[in-house]
Structure formats: C-alpha cells, structure tokens
C-alpha cells in the first residue's frame, strides 16, 4: 500500500493558526482535514456577568481585522432585547463604518494575500517589485477604508466609538464632506481593481453550494435582513439557531456548523453576491458585468472578483451616505435594559457573524453565543478541498499543496475569529 501525505503545519496568508492534512491511499483520496488548533478563547463564557453595554467592546477584541462585525452584532442584539429604535442618521453611520471595514479588509485580502496566488508569488512584497502600481493603488484604497474607521470609530484597529444605541460621538457634516474626494478616487480605483483581477486565470471549479446570507428588501445587506439561503432557509435572525446547528469535531478548536437536516453552508461575498445581485449599486453592477460575472457565481476562485465588486459597492454606498448625511440630534439613543434575549446578525467581510445574548432586568449578561463566519465556512472549505484534491491527484505534492492553500485562501479565513489558523499535511500511502 502506498501513502501520500501532504501536510502544511502553518498555512500562510490567513489570520490565525491552522493546519491542513490530506491523506491519499493507493491513489485514492482517504481524508481531508482543516485543523484549527488555535486555543479556544472563551469569549462567550467571560461575557456572562458583564454589563450589556460592555458586549460590543469586549467582542470586538475577537478580531483585529473585522472588529466592526462584532461591534455591530452586539449593538443590534442589545437594541433588540431593549426594544430601542435607531434613527436614520445613526443607521447610516453604522453602514458607513461597515463600508470602511469591507474596503480595508477586502482590498488587503485581494491585493496582499490572494493576487500573489494567481500570479505565482510567495507574498505581496515579492509581487510589489513587478506590479508596483497594483500594490500602490491597493494600499491607497486600504488607507481610505482605514480613514473611515478612524473618523467614525476613533482608530482603525478596534474602534472605540461604538455605543449600544449609537456612537459616543458623531462626526460633523463637514468632517464627512471632507472624505468625498478620497471616496470618489476610491470608487474609480476599485473599478480598475475589479478590471485587473477579472483578467487573472481562473480554473473551472463550480460547486453546488448552499449559500447563506442576509437579505434586505431595500439594500445590499450589512447590518440587517432576514437569514436566507438558496436551498430554502428564510428566517428572521431570531430563527438562526433553528436552522444552523453547531457541533464539536475533534480536529478543530472551532465549532463546525451545518444546516439542520442538510450539510455545509457557505457564507461570505459569493453568498451575498449570488443572493443580492439585484441590490448591487449601479457602478458595482456594471463592474460585475464588465468582469464577466453572471448574476450568481459558484466558483470560489472567483471570490477575488466578487470582493472587488463589493469594494466598489462600499465606495458607492459610502459616497451616498456622506453626501446625504444630516447630523443627528444626539449621538446615541438612551437604552434601558429589559430582561430577555436579543439577536444580532451582520455581514462581516467573510460572511454572517451571529450574536445572541440573554440579559436580566439590570442588563447583566446571563448567556451569550457568537458564531464567526470562518467557523461556519470550515465544513465547506473541507468539502472544496475534497473535490479539488479528487480531481487533481496527478499533481505533485508541491503543486497540490500550493493549490490547496489557494482553495483555503479563497475564503479569506480568519481563524483567530473562528477559534475564536493553518498547517497542510498530505499523506499518500
């Protein structure tokens, strides 16, 4: 019996620490595992006994790349349980700060972590010598995303200005207007980035995914909507636990998720795009058409184009908000704690990020549950790896490893979030 083992102990260009193991016995694929071994972080446990106002800032520490997802999930859940209504200017500012996070997170992944895969470079620094204009443009786009986070959140990493009920301090109209020129430049530059990434070489790899994401009647989803899928899920956010089930698997410190009665589901840009194409902003839609994308996309390698389309959308949306902004009467609505359970689910760059909190009359947290998008995607990443390796068994171990890492990076996984990262091991016997 011959065994081939492909093993990557620490997968590069992903956030956090994880490993990949592929075992091939007698020329047939025997096992694939995405192993997440970053230690569990017990956020849900230490939230118990804290005040409901502390949840946003505590949970934001789960991730330095997508803190807005945690801030927003927590504030929406707390406002639901406390029955707080949020006025339009505050709602718009929340969408604007989310635009900042999508821009900086998506462009970092596209240009610094993912494009090197397609062009055959080990990293973005090596790529920058040959493609300086792409990298310079991406960095400038990212800087504008950072600037939005700084203006609304106080700083670009772990913003500290988000409050249950609104913000500690809201920007002036003049401060937001000061961003218009940069946002216009960013919109044009992001359309050019979509054009650039759509010219990369993509292998055929369409998969039969169950795509799950938020769906809102009026807009491309960030903070609000119903939980829907292309295979029948259509629930309010409070129904999340009825349809998406978490389970422990021995090779991962992050819980896996599956759709009740079915299997893996896929969250993130491809799911959002394929479900909400009709809600894309006009320039994002035309950029998608020009890039050759249909109204749905089932090829995970093309997620880089879809991320680009979402960057375009984020710039258009940011411009709209900045141009229409009227300063609110007060920076946040007064929130009175009420006993009960609240739910928040928002679209992090990598997909839906779910929060559920139960608080008592004094606002003390009794129970908390948080599900990161990468945790949900673990199962579908393993499935992609199965299908990819099965049809590429003829590749050398070196090539197989390189391409399997790309399969994983298609998801821009944030393992720190899910364990609340990656090694690859291929065993061939």
């Amino acid at each position: 019996m011959s065994t081939r083992t492909i093993k990557v102990d620490y997968i590069a260009r992903v956030e956090g620490e994880g490993a990949m193991l592929i075992e091939i016995k007698d020329g047939k694929l025997d096992d694939v595992k995405l192993k997440i071994f970053e230690p569990p972080r017990f956020f849900e446990a230490f939230l118990r006994g804290r005040d409901y106002t502390e949840a946003p800032d505590i949970t934001a520490r789960i991730c330095g790349i997508c803190p807005i997802a945690y801030l927003m999930g927590a504030v929406h859940a707390m406002e639901m349980v406390c029955r707080t209504r949020i006025p339009k200017p505050i709602r718009d500012l929340r969408r604007l700060i989310y635009c900042g996070e999508w821009i900086e997170s998506h462009i970092l992944h596209m240009a610094m972590l993912h494009v090197p895969d397609f062009l055959g470079y080990p990293d973005a620094i090596a790529m920058a010598k040959d493609h300086p204009d792409v990298v310079k443009k991406a960095l400038k786009i990212k800087k504008i995303g950072n600037d939005i986070m700084v203006l609304l959140g106080g700083r670009e990493i772990h913003p500290i200005n988000v409050h249950v009920g609104g913000f500690y301090k809201t920007p002036t109209k003049q401060q937001l207007s000061g961003m218009i020129d940069d946002l216009k430049w960013g919109l044009e530059a992001s359309v050019e980035m979509v054009r650039f990434v759509s010219g990369l070489n993509f292998q055929e790899f369409e998969q039969d995914y169950e795509y799950a994401c938020l769906r809102h009647p009026d807009e491309y989803p960030f903070n609000e909507g119903r939980l829907v899928s292309n295979k029948g899920i259509d629930e309010p956010i409070s129904g999340y636990d009825d349809v998406l089930i978490e389970e422990h698997v021995s090779h991962s410190t992050a819980l896996h998720s599956h759709v009740k009665g079915r299997g893996a589901c896929h969250v993130g840009p491809l799911a959002r795009y394929s479900t909400n194409f009709d809600k894309l902003t006009p320039i994002a839609k035309s950029a998608a058409h020009e890039a050759g994308l249909a109204e749905t996309c089932y090829n995970p390698f093309k997620s880089i184009i879809v991320r680009g389309v979402e960057v375009v959308l984020a710039f258009e949306e940011a411009l709209r908000i900045v141009e229409e902004y009227e300063e609110p009467d007060r920076p946040f609505e007064k929130v009175e704690p009420k006993a009960g359970t609240g739910y928040g689910c928002t679209e992090a760059p990598r997909g839906i990020c779910y929060h559920r909190y139960t608080i008592d009359d004094s606002g003390t947290i009794q129970d908390a549950k948080i599900v990161s998008p990468t945790a949900v995607n673990q199962k579908v990443i393993e499935k992609d790896l199965w299908h990819f390796v099965e049809r590429n068994l003829n590749l050398s171990d070196e090539d197989l490893q390189w391409q399997c890492e790309q399969v994983i990076r298609n998801y821009d996984p944030c393992i720190s979030c899910s364990a609340h990262f990656l090694k690859l091991k291929v065993n061939r016997t």
């Binding site: 330095g64 973005a124 090596a126 920058a128 300086p132 700083r155 670009e156 944030c414 990262f421």
Partner: protein, 163 residues
C-alpha cells in the same frame, strides 16, 4: 518625524508610545506621532518624508529592555521581530513593502525595545521603563546627527489617530 508605535493597553507594547510622548516633551519643535502601527497608514505617513525614526516594542528572545537599532536601508526588517498579526499589515511589512515600491524615506531608522510582557493591562515592566530616557535621548541624538541639527518638519503627511 518620530513615530511611536504600540498599544499602551498591552503592557510593554506601549513603550513606543511612551517614548514618543517623552520626546514630545523634550523637543517641542519635532513632529511626533503615535499610531497603532497599521502598515498602510504608516506608509502614508512616511512616504513624502526624508528622515523618519520609528519606535516600537519587539519580541526577539533577548533580554527585556534591550534597545535594538535597525537602519532600514542597511538591513531587512524581520517580520517576526515586530510580532503583530499574520494577516494584518504592520511595521516590518510596511518597511519591506516601501522598499519594494521604492518609497522608503531617505533615512528610516527603527528603534525596537525588547518587551517582557505583552499581556492586557497598562504600565511597563521595570526592565522596559528603566530604558525610557535612554531611548528618548538616543533618538534625539540620532535625529540631530542625521538632519544636521534641523528639525524634521519637512514634507507633507496626513495625520493619523492617536493610539
């Protein structure tokens, strides 16, 4: 320009910020900035400048409080030196990316101070706070040598947030 990098709420990770504040007190004509160290923002800060000194905490297994001085034009900056995140883009990546793009300042010196604890909480370890004045004096002397005694207020840059 002097840029202090770090997070004062992660123990010794705050040394870059504490040194920057000390330098601001000692030399009020200097541009001194504080930042969390996000790479794209750092590159935007130094891209139009000639003389830049960055101060940050490092973790390289040498003794706490040790002062490392790195000249970006003479040596590559090891990414594990300024341990931050595998995904985020921080000081070492910003220096190496600027080198690849040809946008390094004419002189870029990085002072790395070996930390002992990077745990959550404010306050520096005694071994690290003990070298504060020494680092600040070295940075000021370095700056005077490199600029012929003139201040570092040339160029244009965008202000970033305080850490």
């Amino acid at each position: 320009m002097v840029i202090g990098v770090g997070n004062i709420f992660r123990s010794d990770d705050g040394i870059g910020i504490v040194v920057a504040r000390s330098i601001r007190e000692k030399a009020r004509d200097l541009y001194v900035f504080e930042t969390l160290g996000e790479g794209a923002s750092l590159m935007a800060m130094w891209t139009t400048l000639d003389h830049v000194i960055v101060i940050d905490a490092v973790r390289s297994s040498s003794s706490p409080g040790r002062i490392h001085r790195l000249d970006a034009h003479k040596e590559p900056i090891p990414s594990e030196f300024f341990n931050y995140s595998t995904h985020a883009f921080s000081v070492a990546e910003a220096v190496e990316m600027s080198r690849a793009l040809g946008t390094l300042p004419a002189s870029l010196v990085i002072y790395g101070i070996e930390g002992k604890s990077f745990a959550a909480g404010s306050g520096l370890s005694p071994e690290v706070s003990g070298v504060l004045d020494n680092v600040a004096d070295q940075v000021l002397a370095d700056q005077r040598t490199r600029t012929g005694g003139q201040d570092l207020t040339e160029g244009h840059f965008q202000e970033v947030s305080d850490a």
